[in-house]
Symmetry: C2
């Protein structure tokens, strides 16, 4: 690997750690230079602007999440087993990826929802992709008659998203040891309600 | 009202608008001075530090939420009717309170969950209070036999919290017109699953 590429990856890693602990607002070219013990101009050549930096950080976070959540879930058979695996892997994925604080997407969603631009656009696209993976998996569970054909896949996917964010708040802000149990119980309740009547 | 009190309230209003659109990170004494067209020292005498400012903003947000969500819900009879009213009033409360962007508590939760200090402590206490109001209302619904005695009030309260945050993301980030329908359907699913067997 070229030295420039190694430095770039090191900067992204430092940046993700900053995002995870303090959100995107604190991750400027200058702050990243401090953290990586490089000059500001040395970091600037890698990203060019805070917006470009934030965008690259989100792309790097999406890649981490793909490896930690989506890829392992794809090892489970399609349908309910995969849906359960997806949800299990989602809870706490950021910590398992070695990030010191919370989920970069939870931070980004709160920070960029009212800020027009490329970061917001990428965030919308990425969340659509994630919800799409859940919707498809729910659709496979319907095909296998594990869930009712009447299930609203999009609604269920977003309700599961809610369980993820409430788990994040319980675990990180409230430091509540029941976070996992509450989220998993919520998953079972929502899935049971979506079961076919005969099952 | 004294002039100083009027200025203080005007500063809090400006501050809440800034928080609602861009989170707490952008709300410094200097930024607030710009927005209110006052000198930095003129704003400083009102708050003294960014931390004190953030704390006062959260207190002001809690007061708005109390008036927009909790007080009207208390007009409904205790139990399931009140639980439904609480949840209905919660969805979109920040916009109905005249804030231009998202919910200050969603922003604060993402920003302060890994930042030790008085703001984080206040946030934990306020969320505990909110979850407590839901738990109590669920308990009243159990007493009235509208919900099963087996219901886990704390778990249900946090699952409803999840529906609130997913509604917030669908509405503000995704600009999805189905946000209300998905949240209300999720509420009904969770409540139905908590009904007594005989009902």
């Amino acid at each position: 690997m070229q030295k420039r590429d190694k430095t770039h990856r090191r900067l992204l890693r430092h940046g993700l750690e900053l995002v995870s602990s303090g959100g995107f607002a604190g991750v400027t070219i200058g702050e990243l230079a401090n953290r990586a013990e490089l000059s500001k101009s040395g970091v600037f050549v890698h990203f060019g602007s805070s917006e470009a930096l934030h965008l690259e950080l989100l792309r790097a976070a999406a890649e981490l999440a793909r490896r930690e959540v989506v890829e392992p879930a794809m090892q489970a058979p399609p349908g309910l087993a995969r849906l359960r695996r997806l949800f299990d892997r989602w809870l706490g994925w950021a910590q398992r990826s070695g990030l010191p604080g919370g989920c970069p997407f939870v931070a980004a969603t709160a920070e960029f929802d009212d800020v027009e631009g490329a970061v917001r656009d990428y965030l919308v696209e990425t969340l659509e992709g994630l919800i799409g993976v859940f919707e498809q998996t729910i659709g496979e569970a319907v095909d296998k008659k594990e869930l009712s054909p009447d299930v609203d896949a999009k609604a269920l996917a977003w309700q599961l998203f809610g369980l993820y964010t409430s788990h994040h708040t319980m675990q990180r802000l409230m430091r509540d040891s029941e976070a996992d149990a509450v989220a998993l119980q919520g998953f079972e309740t929502l899935v049971q309600a979506a079961r076919p009547l005969q099952a």
